[in-house]
Amino acid sequence: MNTSFSITAIAAVCVLTLTIGALGFRLSRTTSDFYVASRMVTPGWNASAIGGEYLSVASFLGVAGLVYALGADMLWLPVGYTVGYLVLLLLVAAPLRRSGAYTIPDFAEARLESVAIRRICSVLVLGIGWLYLVPQFKGAGLALNAVSGAPMWVGNLVVAVVVLINVVGGGMRSITLVQAVQYWIKLTAISVPAFVLLSWWMHHGQPVPQVPSPQASQQWSRPLSGFGGVQHPVYATYSTLLALCFGTMGLPHVLVRFYTNPDGPSTRRTTSVVLALLGLFYLFPPLYGAFGRIYLPHLPAGLSPDSVTLLLPTAAIAGLTGQLLSAMLAGGAFAALLSTASGLTICVTGVVDQDLVRGRLRRFTGNDARAINGFRISAIAAVAVPLWLSLAARNLGLADTVGLAFAIAASTFCPLLILGIWWRRLSTSGAAAGLVVGGTLASVAVLLTIFDLVHGGWAGALLTQPAAWTLPITFLVMAVVSVATPQHIPRGTARTMVRLHAPEALSVNLGKGHP
């Protein structure tokens, strides 16, 4: 394979990202600029930025890889990623924006008036953020390895460095611009080769997808067939769907993006545009899985199914066209990596900065340190840990790790947000108990899965897809403990409810905390 086109495309995406970031840097001067892009971002940009940030390497490469490897049941993944935003729109979007919170720990502290809850949330954000960053870094290594044969760690390092420069240099405003551009880069990069492949397929006999053994070939294209050794496919389908639908709202980099909307109604409208943008994008990844089964029935040795998208054009169409299309996809994959990794890094950085670094920095330097320095130190910590994890933990799958991050978010932040927004009787003890129980259960299941300590059967299905039982347990614990401890209902609950739900046109007292 001629690799120079792909390398050029990847380099171009990295340089473009850094250039746009640098342009944003010249505009951002104060800490508030760094954090919220001064809220001058228009809804169109915002929806693109949300889409750009959300569509990670798991969507760009992972979905096609899993459809290729495991068949029709994996079509639910992109559906779940999209429905997650619908659920977010229905249950939390506008109230969350009105709360004025920038991160989930901010929201938890404002709603429950407890610093302890804030600390629990910060720990969870760190865990989810790092878990989500690992596959982004690994995906970079995988993509670079697939197109050029470079060792895995090179890609990991390249992405970590580019993200770090971007976040430290430009902060949020540049990221918003970068993210918006990234969505359109990604859509172009995934749709153009797909259309070319589609017309190639139409004009060259329309072959059907192949699987090595003829009996399995039928199973591959059918849902709930257990193709690829998936056990209890009905449970797995529902639990995955549940994790994705209810986990999206709890992902750390999602709420941050909503803060750049000016008010509740614009947040809703932005989200409905996001639904359209995501739906448009997700038309394409399953096509690559199917075309992979047609033109690439046997993967080259040593490559994971996650690379199928990158290898497909050259396998299907010989000559320059195939190489150019592969290069386009490699560039798109890097755009996906960079955007999600940047967004997550920004958000993990925010949490590390606010809750860990800033206070300590002040103590060491006697209030001399500028807040921006704390932000920069935190960014390094936010990137270093998952980079180390991605190098140390070699046997984690791409989209699987992302799915586990969704499961933890669904079992902790989702109940906190839904009950916090809609239920006046949520008490501090109830929220804390739910977060601890749900977080512990989901984390244990995730750790057992990651370190490959579960083997088959119902126990395996329950632990690799924990959301179906951890999510209801968390809801139950939060509700029961809250009812049992009415004395711990925050005193400002009524005022907070007004702040969360009152339309902006109404001139009412929104209480403290509203900017």
Binding site: V83, R222, A276, L278, P286
Partner: protein, 131 residues
């Protein structure tokens, strides 16, 4: 207590001896709801509870429809196995639904919700302004 003071006219100018709060309450229908909400009176709380309940009901109804539509699909594939192999042209039905048709449906659900919830807020704002 304060009622009698107002009704009997006298040669001297009478001074009302009441708490200012009593007077405030008696202003009755002219009093803005926004103030009721601000002061967290029972009435203000009732208004807010109505708004929150209306939004919650809307969210739940859209969510339930989406859950039935989307969550029903695996059950359909499970209990009507014929739907797993049915083909529309060259494309298997499950691929057509999950790969294409479901996305416009999701967007429509979101669009409907945005319109309706803005409507609820508009009506609430008008209601509060009217009083």
């Amino acid at each position: 207590m304060s009622g009698t003071a107002n009704h009997t006219p006298g040669p001297q100018k009478r001074v009302r001896v009441t708490s200012p709060r009593m007077g405030a309450q008696r202003r009755g229908p002219g009093r803005p709801v926004a103030a009721e909400i601000d002061e967290q009176t029972r009435l203000g709380e009732l208004y807010m509870a109505t708004l929150i309940r209306a939004q919650w009901r809307l969210s739940m109804s859209v969510l339930a429809s989406a859950a039935m539509m989307i969550g029903g699909l695996p059950l359909l594939f499970l209990f009507v196995p014929a739907t797993r192999i049915l083909k529309v042209g060259p494309i298997p039905l499950p691929w057509l639904i999950l790969g294409v048709l479901i996305y416009p449906a999701i967007w429509l659900a979101g669009y409907y919700y945005v319109r309706q919830s803005e409507q609820i807020e508009r009506e609430f704002t008008e209601l509060v302004a009217r009083r």
